[in-house]
C-alpha cells in the first residue's frame, strides 16, 4: 500500500507511484528508441529527463541519456520536447501491451 504521505515525503515519490501502475510489458519490443545516443551530447538541457512523467530517461556519467521503455505511460512528451534534434523514434506498443489504466 502506498499512502499519500509516501508519495510526498522525498524524491522517491515517483518510483513509489509507478510501482503501483499496472503494465503489460512487451518483452520483445521497445516501442521508443533514442536514434543516435551521441546526438544527446549536443543537447544542453536534455529536457526529456525532467519532462518525462514516468522517469524513463536517466542521465549517464558519459553525458548520454539512457532510456528504459518498461515504465513508459505512452504520453508522447519525450518526442515533442525533443524538438531541436528530433532524436527520438516513437511508436505505440503492440496491441494490448504497455500501460493499463484500471481507473484512468
Amino acid at each position: 500500500m502506498v499512502t499519500v504521505d509516501d508519495t510526498i515525503k522525498d524524491r522517491a515519490g515517483l518510483e513509489r507511484k509507478l510501482a503501483i501502475t499496472s503494465y503489460n510489458v512487451d518483452p520483445s519490443r521497445a516501442h521508443i528508441r533514442i536514434i543516435d545516443p551521441d546526438v544527446c551530447l549536443q543537447c544542453e538541457r536534455q529536457q526529456c529527463i525532467n519532462c518525462c512523467p514516468a522517469a524513463c530517461y536517466a542521465p549517464q556519467p558519459d553525458g548520454r541519456v539512457l532510456f528504459s521503455y518498461e515504465g513508459c505511460v505512452e504520453c508522447g512528451t519525450c518526442r515533442i520536447v525533443c524538438y531541436e534534434f528530433h532524436n527520438i523514434e516513437w511508436t505505440y506498443p503492440r496491441g494490448g501491451f504497455g500501460v493499463q489504466y484500471r481507473y484512468g
Partner: protein, 432 residues
C-alpha cells in the same frame, strides 16, 4: 462480417471514436472500431468531469445506467499562494437533480461502458489492435494497416480518433508535429479515502460532489491549473503545464503534483488517503492556431486528435463526443451520395463551424498567449490579493485609513505600471 472491407474504420475507442461509431452503426453502416488497449479506456485519462448534455445527445438518460461517480453540484475556484488560499465557490440544488449538469467519472469504466453502447448498436470493436499505418489508393486514404501481422483493412472512410498524441493525423499529412507550446502534460493521482470521509470533507450528501480548479502554486506559478474532483470513494487530483513551460522551468509534473498535495490548504483534504493509481497524459491545448486540417479524401479527424479542447472552461470530452457525432452525420450524408472525397467530407467542417466547437475555439484563440505574456496575473496578483486580505482581516489596532492605503499600494504594485487598464480592455475585447 467480412473483415477485409467495411463502411467505416474508426481508430480509437475513446469518447470521440465511440461517439462517431454509435450513430454510424445505428444508421446501418458496417463500422469497425480499432482500439490499441486491451479494453476501451485502458490508455485513457482525463481529470474526470463528464458533461451531461453532449452525452445525452448520444445516449438518452445515460445517467440511470452508466458507471458514474458523483453528480457535481459545486464548483470551487481557488488561487494558492505559498501559504494562503483565496476561493470562490458556487453550489446549486439545480445541479443535484435530474437531468444533472456534470458527473465525475473513471475513464477506464466510462469508456468501456460507452463502447458497449456502440457495440449494442452493431459496431464491431477490436481491442488490442494498434494501427501502424494508413493505406492509400489513388491519393486517397483507403484503409489502415493494423496489428502484428500488418493486416490491411479497407473502408470508405477512416475516422482518426487516436487521441491527443495522434500519429495518424501526421501520417495522413493533415498535421505537422506539435510544438511544445501546443501540448500540456498533466499528472494525476487517484487517492482512496472512503465515501463518508469525502462527504464530510467536502460537505456533500452521498452521490453528490465537488469540482475544484486550483490556480497559482498548484502549478508552481506556471500557466495552467490543478484540479481536485470528488469521486464516490476516491479523489482525483492532478496538475500540469505546457511542455514549453516544463522545458523552460526544468520542473517535472509529478514533483509539481506532490508540491500541490503538500500545500497547507490542500493536504487536509487528502490526509490518510491511499494512492491507487498514478497516470499522465497530454492535453492538446494549441487550440485554433494548432488545429490540423480536419478532413481529406477518405478521412476525418475528431476529438483530441483534432485538438478540440477548451482548456479555459475545462471542456474536452464534450468536444470529442460532439465532433464524433458530427463526423458521423457527414459520413452518413457522404454514403448517400457515394462520394467520400475531401469535397464531400468538407460537410464535417461545415457542421463544426455551425456548432459551438469551432466557434468556441475561435473565441478563445488568443487567451493562452495573452495570459502567458503576463505571468504576473498568476503570480504577483494572487500574492498581492492574499496579502491585502491578510491586512484587512488582521485586527491589530492600525487605523483603517492607514490600512486601506497599504492595501491599495500592495494591489497597485502587483500590476506593472500603465499596463492594468490596457490589459483589462484587451482582455475584454478578446472574448467578444
Amino acid at each position: 462480417m467480412s473483415l477485409e472491407r467495411v463502411d467505416v474504420i474508426i481508430v480509437g475507442a475513446g469518447p470521440a471514436g465511440v461517439a462517431a461509431g454509435l450513430p454510424l452503426a445505428q444508421s446501418g453502416l458496417e463500422v469497425v472500431i480499432l482500439e490499441r488497449g486491451g479494453y476501451p479506456g485502458s490508455k485513457n485519462v482525463m481529470g474526470g468531469i463528464l458533461y451531461r448534455q453532449p452525452t445525452e445527445a448520444l445516449v438518452p438518460g445515460f445517467w440511470r445506467e452508466a458507471p458514474l461517480e458523483r453528480a457535481i453540484i459545486e464548483q470551487r475556484y481557488v488561487v494558492l499562494t505559498e501559504d494562503s488560499a483565496i476561493g470562490l465557490s458556487y453550489r446549486t440544488q439545480a445541479f443535484a437533480q435530474e437531468p444533472y449538469n456534470a458527473f465525475s467519472v473513471m475513464r477506464a469504466e466510462w469508456d468501456r461502458w460507452f463502447a458497449q453502447q456502440a457495440e449494442a448498436a452493431g459496431a464491431f470493436i477490436a481491442t488490442g489492435m494498434t494501427v501502424e499505418d494508413l493505406v492509400w489508393r489513388d491519393g486517397a486514404i483507403a484503409g489502415v494497416k493494423a496489428g502484428e501481422a500488418g493486416d490491411e483493412l479497407y473502408a470508405d472512410v477512416v475516422v482518426l480518433a487516436d487521441g491527443a498524441n495522434s500519429l495518424l493525423a501526421q501520417k495522413a499529412g493533415l498535421h505537422r508535429e506539435w510544438h511544445p507550446s501546443e501540448q500540456a502534460l498533466v499528472a494525476k493521482e487517484l487517492i482512496r479515502l472512503s465515501e463518508e470521509v469525502i462527504n464530510e470533507r467536502f460537505n456533500v450528501p452521498p452521490g453528490l460532489g465537488v469540482a475544484m480548479e486550483v490556480f497559482g502554486q498548484s502549478t508552481a506559478g506556471l500557466l495552467g491549473y490543478g484540479f481536485i474532483y470528488t469521486n464516490r470513494e476516491t479523489l482525483s487530483i492532478g496538475t500540469g503545464a505546457l511542455l514549453s513551460d516544463l522545458i523552460e522551468s526544468g520542473l517535472n509534473v509529478s514533483d509539481m503534483l506532490d508540491q500541490f498535495k503538500r500545500h497547507p490548504a490542500i493536504a487536509p483534504l487528502l490526509e490518510g488517503g491511499e494512492l491507487v493509481e498514478y497516470s499522465a497524459h497530454l492535453i492538446p491545448e494549441g487550440g485554433w492556431h494548432a488545429m490540423p486540417t480536419l478532413f481529406t479524401d477518405g478521412a476525418v479527424v475528431v476529438g483530441d486528435a483534432a485538438g478540440f479542447v477548451n482548456p479555459i472552461s475545462r471542456e474536452g470530452s464534450n468536444f470529442a463526443m460532439i465532433s464524433g457525432k458530427l463526423a458521423a452525420e457527414a459520413i452518413i450524408e457522404a454514403k448517400q451520395s457515394g462520394d467520400f472525397s475531401a469535397a464531400s467530407l468538407s460537410r464535417y467542417q461545415e457542421l463544426l463551424e455551425e456548432s459551438f466547437i469551432l466557434q468556441d475555439l475561435y473565441t478563445i484563440r488568443n487567451v493562452t498567449p495573452f495570459v502567458h505574456q503576463r505571468p504576473y496575473l498568476l503570480r504577483d496578483v494572487p500574492a498581492a490579493l492574499a496579502a491585502a486580505l491578510r491586512d484587512y482581516l488582521t485586527v491589530d489596532g492600525t487605523p483603517k485609513t492607514v490600512k486601506y492605503g497599504k492595501i491599495a499600494r500592495r494591489l497597485q504594485a502587483a500590476f506593472p505600471p500603465g499596463r492594468t487598464l490596457r490589459d483589462l480592455l484587451s482582455g475584454a475585447r478578446m472574448l467578444r
